[in-house]
Symmetry: C2
């Protein structure tokens, strides 16, 4: 079953800053290299009912593809070197079709 | 600019119950009648990193369509009679394309 993996987050960088753009660009360039990552999308979160500003969304064909992504060295390195230091707050959600 | 309106939520009903199914079916049948609601989708939230269980997602072509939905009597009635009494917790997010 396909899994839509999403994370909504807030960066430590000012809105519109070069650092913000670099983070978003680096994420796309790094994570889309990983086999099994489909439909990688960066969206701006604009509801005032949340204090998070961005969303990454990606689709995996199945749990194996998701697990391979999670364990992939490029993903692990991105999390350790960029995510851990530049993201102030986040919330993950994974979605599947209604059973 | 198109707006992807989403809400992740948890119901007071047991998972797999008829009451749960009825809530989800009624939401779809009620809200998709409203002009401007596109791509209405019900998804199951499965990440253990969140305690919310379901997501409604819908696409509006622009803010006017979103505002018309928000003010629509069918939406207002659904929120007052079903959402307010059957939803235990929720989080809204609205997404637009990265500027």
């Amino acid at each position: 079953m396909a899994i839509l993996h999403t994370v909504v987050f807030r960066l430590s960088h000012p809105a519109g800053s070069p650092e913000e753009a670099l983070f978003l660009d680096t994420a796309r360039e790094t994570l889309t290299v990983i086999a099994g990552v489909r439909d990688f999308t960066v969206r701006r979160q604009v509801s005032a009912k949340s204090d998070l500003d961005w969303q990454f969304s990606m689709l995996f064909d199945d749990q194996d593809a998701y697990d391979a992504y999670d364990a992939h060295p490029l993903h692990r390195e991105f999390v350790a070197t960029r995510w851990a230091t530049e993201v102030e707050a986040f919330q993950e959600y994974d979605f599947v079709d209604r059973p």
